[in-house]
């Protein structure tokens, strides 16, 4: 049975929709369309755009490399400390990104817990470098990969893995030839969400990696900065980010947990 929306619900629903939609409409409406091509081609914008694409892509790849095994453990293991593992992976999801940035500084900064050792052993310094921006994005985006892939792996029919085992496939082959292909849609969804989150990352990046044009100044940082001096460029860059978000949303078509039906 399809339920009719009660009348008294209509008002808050409309207000809610307007509230969510109005900023987007305003953004599109105020965009300096005529200068679009010119501004996008200009040096600083292009630099920020390229840097953002490179860092978010790198963060996504790393998130999948680390996230898929984590998701696997969460979906399959019966380890007693699994709840702890889950809490740790979900923490960045609820942690304010700025706090994440500060925490990263304390851990990976040149005098930090691990950073000290990285610096001494490999001469690797993360804060205020492009690699640092990638690390900051990875930190906030990783849970998205884990959560989405975990849901996908849980949906994989274990009986197919058993069938593969009776056909001589060991764990490695079962993982690559059966589980991963069957979980492919959730891998794609996880990567897309992760990429979108990494692309939009602001707080952790500015705290941990700073705001150095060409090195750590990604699109969101550029938006914030341009808003002080050249608002029309900020609007333009926002539009770019908005487009990416819409594309991801359409590509997912409700595949992510919580988005419900397509």
């Amino acid at each position: 049975m399809r339920e009719r929306v009660p009348v008294w619900l209509v008002v808050p629903v409309v207000i809610g929709l307007v509230f969510l939609l109005a900023p987007v409409v305003a953004l599109v409406q105020r965009a300096p369309w005529s200068e679009l091509g010119h501004e996008l081609a200009s040096g600083p914008v292009r630099t920020a755009l390229r840097l953002s694409l490179v860092t978010s892509l790198a963060a996504t790849v790393l998130a999948m490399v680390l996230g898929v095994p984590l998701a696997w453990v969460l979906a399959r293991s019966e380890w007693r400390l699994l709840r702890l593992v889950r809490a740790v992976t979900l923490l960045p999801l609820v942690l304010p990104p700025v706090v994440g940035g500060v925490a990263l500084l304390l851990a990976l900064g040149s005098r930090g817990l691990i950073g000290q050792w990285l610096d001494r052993t490999f001469g690797l310094t993360l804060p205020f470098t492009t690699a640092g921006a990638v690390v900051a994005e990875l930190f906030v985006a990783l849970p998205f990969a884990v959560v989405t892939v975990e849901a996908g792996l849980r949906a994989v029919d274990r009986r197919l893995e058993e069938a593969a085992a009776t056909l001589g496939a060991g764990p490695w082959r079962r993982f690559w030839r059966v589980s991963m292909p069957l979980a492919a849609p959730s891998l794609a969804a996880g990567a897309a969400l992760c990429g979108a989150r990494a692309l939009g990352e602001f707080g952790a990046t500015i705290t941990f990696a700073g705001n150095l044009p060409g090195r750590t100044q990604t699109l969101p940082l550029a938006v914030y900065l341009e808003l002080q001096t050249r608002p029309e460029v900020a609007v333009l860059l926002s539009l770019v980010l908005l487009t990416v978000s819409v594309v991801v949303l359409v590509a997912l078509r409700g595949r992510w947990v919580g988005l419900g039906r397509p």
Partner: protein, 350 residues
């Protein structure tokens, strides 16, 4: 003996403890009701489920032995499985499904595909090779699953209810194909089923499994003629009694007495075929040595015969023609006399 498995497994409320041996080239069928532990037993032999205690030996090679602490993982056992739900890989073409096992066993891509094509041709699925499993009918999917299992040339083939998921129309057809390919397969074959028809059509030997235990093992004819459990007797449609034989009479725990021709002494089973039970309206006098006063508890018309469930000191099922039922004016709850000749009762030691 090529497969010798003696194992016990605990799984939920089920306690499976079986001791089975299947010879070279033999087709053995484990027959049992749902929940008897049939699938659990197959999973244990295939290595998909660790056994609690015991050992599984195939061709003299130990696959698992809890006393020695050895256990081969399923992928290392030369065992092929055809699952009831087929479990074809949905992301692979039918051809790649069949080639899967060949690839894992180290065949090159081209060789694996060529051999898979040969298997599909043998099962008449050539046209469907490029399709996805979801495009196959139930029967075709079952045959594809069989091809996939056989392609790796296992020493032991396990089949879990191979026909249960099929509709009646395709079942007969797939059963014929299955018989043909099971015959041509050289290794040992073990199938589980709850369908006596399937078991008798496919197997040389039946193992009747009930509540985790093998209660009878023998040829289909053995089980048909001398069932050793209520379940087996119901499957073949006969009345089974268990009692103590003394001087040509079997005394039932219920107090009933069955006169038999030469039953020996001690615990025996006695089988009475429903068709050898005659019904009368009055107490008959004459040759039959067994005369029981009974109540017709249920009267079911099944096509050209009427099955009458009789209550009394010797509860049993009689089968009469509709004409006879009319003549007797059989009604549920009505009194009736049942007679069986002593020579029609088959008795054998329990």
């Amino acid at each position: 003996m090529t497969l010798a498995a003696s194992l016990s497994v605990r799984r939920g409320p089920l306690r499976l403890a079986v001791d089975i041996e299947v010879g070279e080239g033999e087709v053995a069928a484990v027959l049992g009701p749902n929940g008897a532990g049939k699938s659990t037993m197959l999973a244990a032999v295939a290595g998909l489920l660790p056994i609690g205690e015991g050992r599984v030996v195939l061709d003299g090679k130990v696959l698992e032995d809890t006393a020695l602490g050895t256990r081969l993982s399923p992928q290392r056992r030369p065992v092929g499985v055809v699952f009831q739900e087929r479990r074809l890989f949905p992301h692979l073409s039918v051809l790649d499904n069949v080639a899967f096992g060949l690839r894992t066993r180290g065949e090159g891509r081209a060789t694996a595909r060529r051999r898979a094509e040969e298997w599909l041709a043998r099962l008449g699925l050539t046209e469907l090779a490029g399709g996805r499993p979801e495009q196959l009918s139930g029967g075709q999917a079952q045959l594809a699953a069989l091809a996939r299992a056989l392609a790796t040339k296992p020493r032991l083939l396990l089949l879990d209810e191979p026909l249960a998921a099929l509709d009646v129309a395709t079942r007969a057809e797939v059963r014929r194909e299955l018989v043909r390919h099971l015959r041509s397969f050289a290794g040992t074959r073990l199938l589980v089923t709850h369908d006596p028809l399937e078991a008798m059509a496919l197997a040389d030997r039946l193992l009747v499994l009930e509540e985790g235990r093998i209660v009878q093992s023998g040829t289909p004819a053995d089980v048909r003629e001398r069932p050793r459990s209520r379940y087996a007797a119901d499957l073949v449609g006969v009345n089974l009694f268990r009692g103590r034989a003394r001087a040509g009479v079997v005394e039932l725990p219920s107090g009933g007495r069955i006169v038999v021709a030469g039953a020996g002494v001690g615990e025996v089973f006695a089988v009475v075929h429903p068709r050898s039970v005659a019904l009368h309206r009055q107490d008959p006098e004459g040759s039959p040595r067994n005369v029981w006063r009974a109540t017709a508890e249920r009267v079911d018309v099944e096509g050209d015969r009427v099955r009458v469930l009789l209550g009394g000191s010797v509860p049993l099922v009689a089968e009469v023609t509709p004409a006879a039922a009319d003549e007797l004016r059989l009604a549920e709850g009505g009194p009736v006399w049942a007679t069986v000749k002593a020579t029609e009762v088959v008795a054998y030691p329990a």
